[in-house]
Every structure is written in C-alpha cells, then in structure tokens.
C-alpha cells in the first residue's frame, strides 16, 4: 500500500523514568506566589483501584486573567515575574500535584474560564486532555458550550472546587467511579469513532 506522505506519528507512553528529564525547577510555578491573583491549583491523579498515581505528571495551559492567550516566553526559564500560562508538575508519591498560577479569564463572552489539563503517566499509552472549570463560576459554567454537552452525572468531574483561600482542587480519576471526563479534540485520530458516512474532506473540515 503506498503511504501518503504526512501520516501521523503514533503516541507511546512516557514510561516510568521521566522524573530526571521532564519536571523542571519552576515548572509548577506558572505565577509567582507573591502575585496578587495567585491561586493554588492542585489535586491527585487516581487510578482504577482508587490509588494515587505517583509516576504521572500534569501540564496546565491557560489564558491570562482577562482571557487572552499569553505569548510570553519563559515557561522553562522563569524570570520570577512573567506569567506564561504553561506549567508542568510531577505527581508526588501519593499522586498529588500542585501548581501556583492565576485563575484565567473566559476566552469568549459566552464561555466559562478553564485551564486545559493534560495528563501523562506510566501505563498511559496516550496522554489525556481534560478541562478544569471553576466551581465559583456557576453562572458562566451554566452557559458553557462544552459543559452543557456533558452528561450531567459526570459534569462535576470537570469542575475544580474551591477548597480554601485562593485554592482549587481538581482530582483526576483515570478509571472507575467518578472517572474524569477526558476530551478528544481530534476525532479524526480515531477511526473507531468516526461516522463512516462522512467523507474524508468533511472530517478534515
């Protein structure tokens, strides 16, 4: 079969031994702790047996407080001042991760604010995307397009709940009871779930 030129490269697990390579100093510090709007964004990555996943890491990516995408460099080499919107935090032995960041603003007038959350772990063949909305934004959450599409019984898995002063908790359950809603932004990847009646060009559009 002739290969068309630009076929996707498949994913592989991060494996167990990324700890010396991917986490970095300043990774969890998306905003400096002294920032007047700094929040803690934290939670536990939990497996299907209800046990914390120690060999996981989490990336977050979010807009600034006004809902604008941030184009500042320096997510690795933090200058102690600039909020870049991107962070990476390794889970600890209990599977707990924690960031210092700012609460993003909504990127559209009719949307709710959220952080894009990406999970990687040993045993996870392909990373998982989810969104963390904020429990103290009930009106905006009620009008959000994605939240409205989610089975109400599972919607709460996408909501980070305030659990203290300027602190939000977002547990990520990979499997089982209370399994987090994970998102597919690119249905074309997965032919099992593509409507066979649609043409390729429709899928691409």
């Amino acid at each position: 079969m002739p290969e068309t030129p630009f076929l996707q490269t498949p994913s592989q697990t991060v494996g167990p031994f990324f700890g010396f390579a991917l986490p970095y100093a300043g990774g969890p510090e998306v905003a400096p702790p002294w920032h007047p709007s700094a929040i803690r964004f934290h939670g536990t990555v939990i497996d299907g047996a209800g046990v914390g996943v120690p060999d996981a890491f989490v990336e977050i990516w979010g807009a600034d407080a006004a809902g604008r995408v941030i184009a500042e460099r320096g997510s690795f080499a933090r200058d102690g001042h600039t909020v870049t919107g991107f962070g990476r935090a390794a889970a600890d032995r209990d599977g707990h991760y924690s960031f210092t960041t700012i609460k993003p603003g909504p990127t559209r007038a009719d949307a709710a604010p959220y952080l894009l959350v990406t999970v990687f772990a040993r045993g996870l063949m392909h990373h998982l995307f989810t969104r963390a909305y904020f429990g103290d934004e009930p009106e905006r959450n009620a009008g959000d397009r994605l939240l409205g599409d989610i089975d109400p019984a599972r919607r709460a898995t996408l909501i980070a709940q305030a659990d203290g002063d300027a602190s939000y908790r977002f547990d990520i359950r990979l499997q089982g009871e209370g399994e987090t809603v994970f998102l597919d932004f690119d249905r074309i990847d997965d032919p099992d779930r593509t409507d066979p009646d649609r043409t390729d060009s429709e899928r691409d559009g």
Partner: protein
C-alpha cells in the same frame, strides 16, 4: 481490584495476547472498511501497567477553543543551543556509540512545525537511566545524563547528538526487555498537537516482542516510530546518523498559515 502481579507470565503468553489483539483490530478494520487507529488503544493489557490507568468511558468530543489552538511560546531564552548535544554535558566523553538523530517535525498537511519545543530523554549505552527508581544492575555513566532539549528550526527540523541507548529489562513479564529507544516530547503550534512518543532503531529484534511498541495495532503506524539509518547523516570519524521525521495531528487543530504553503 488491583490485579495480582504475574511475574511468571512468559514472553510467549504476552506475544500471544498481542497477536490476538492485533488480529481483532485487523478483522474489525476489514469488516468495517475503516482504517486501523494510529495511536495505541489505551487499554492494551499486554502492557500490564495500562490495566488500571485507562479510562473506560469514551472520550468526549470537544471543539478546541482559541487557547487550545496555540502552544506556549518556548524560545531560545528557554533552551540553550548546546542542550541538543547530550554528549557534552559533563567533563568527559560518555561511553557508547555516538549518534546523530535528525529529521523534521511536520503537521498533517506537511507544514513545518517551527520554533517549537522538543524534549528528549533516554537510558545510557548500558541501558540504565539516571533515575533513582531504575534498579537495573547496569552501570551509570558519570559523563551521561540522557536529557536534551531543542527548538525546531524554521523548516521544522531538529538535530541532536547523543549516545545510542542500550536495551534494558523491565518487569512487565518474565524476561521482558525494552528495545533500545529514545523518548521524545513534542509541542505543536496548537496544544492539541501535543505528542509524547518513543523512537526505535532499525533491525532491533526486541521490537516485535515489546508490548509498548506493539501497543500500536497498525503495523504501518508502528513502523513510523523506527528511525532510518542514513549514511549521509553519519559524520566521518565521529558519529553514525539516523533520520526520523515526525508528523503531529492534522490540519484540523492547526493554525492556518497560508504563507507557509511553499515550505511544505
């Protein structure tokens, strides 16, 4: 329930499980006329660690918003040029076979993924990671850490100098060995293009036995993780050369940059 550890599972049993899964996917593809999936199924049991770590619900389709259609701006303030050479991070030269790995990072339409971050990590020539939980009784190399980073060029190209990693044993089943591989992490121009994967070497007899590489059920997709030996990349009296091109997700989630069309 956490499954009991099964240390006495043999390679034969694991290979049979893999073959059964591959056959099932092939039959389903033939019956439906749909292509095999590119990415591994997340519930790939021959890789035992996946058992409790895969979601059981179908992923929910979401339209990416603006924030998901861009990536963090990494740049040369974040990554120094010498970080792409893993052989110069210590006082002495690391042991092992020096190699150059180069290629291009493209999107699904063949456009270069330019000025984006690539991270790499790997075991040393003896198959040992600089990681405190790696218990493999092979020597650490004081002159090799096995971590590199770089920013892709305007044409999506990358180039790194390193040491060919060794194979190493792991505890998935009895006498389980990972084929030699280099871990890669990519950012696209859109966050939805994020990819973490592993690059393998041509002709490795362990590749077909490995539940991680074989978790990709499409043989053609699997083959795309194997670098090509390229004598034109090899450098005389210095290093052997490998070429490996990478394609992130398609155009759907990618910024349209019409002026790039010429570069494709």
């Amino acid at each position: 329930m956490r499954p009991d550890p099964q240390p006495e599972l043999t390679q034969r049993q694991i290979s049979d499980e893999i073959a059964t899964i591959h056959d099932d996917y092939r039959r389903r593809a033939d019956a439906t006329g749909r292509p095999l999936p590119v990415h591994p199924p997340r519930d790939f049991l021959p890789y035992r660690s996946s058992a409790l770590r895969h979601p059981t619900h179908e992923l929910v389709r979401a339209d990416p918003e603006e924030i998901e259609l861009v990536s963090p701006a990494f740049g040369h303030t974040d990554v120094a040029a010498e970080e792409s050479d893993l052989t110069i991070q210590h006082v002495g030269e690391p042991l092992g076979e020096r190699i150059v790995v180069t290629g291009r990072v493209l999107d699904g339409e063949g456009r270069p993924v330019r000025n984006q971050l690539v991270e790499i990590w790997q075991a040393n020539a003896s198959g040992r990671y600089v990681h405190k939980r790696d218990q493999h009784p092979a020597p650490l190399d004081p002159n090799f850490t096995g971590v590199g980073r770089l920013i892709t060029g305007d044409d999506g190209s990358y180039r790194l100098t390193t040491i060919k990693p060794g194979a190493y044993p792991w505890k998935n089943h009895r006498n389980a060995w990972r084929p030699a591989h280099i871990h890669f992490s990519f950012f696209g121009s859109a966050f939805t293009q994020r990819l973490v994967t592993q690059m393998y070497f041509p002709g490795d007899p362990l590749f077909a036995l490995d539940p991680i590489s074989q978790s990709i059920v499409d043989p053609a997709a699997r083959a795309r993780l194997i670098a090509t030996y390229d004598h034109d990349v090899s450098e005389p009296e210095w290093a052997l050369g490998y070429r490996w091109d990478v394609v992130l997700t398609g155009p759907k989630s990618t910024w349209m940059e019409p002026e790039d069309a010429d570069h494709a």
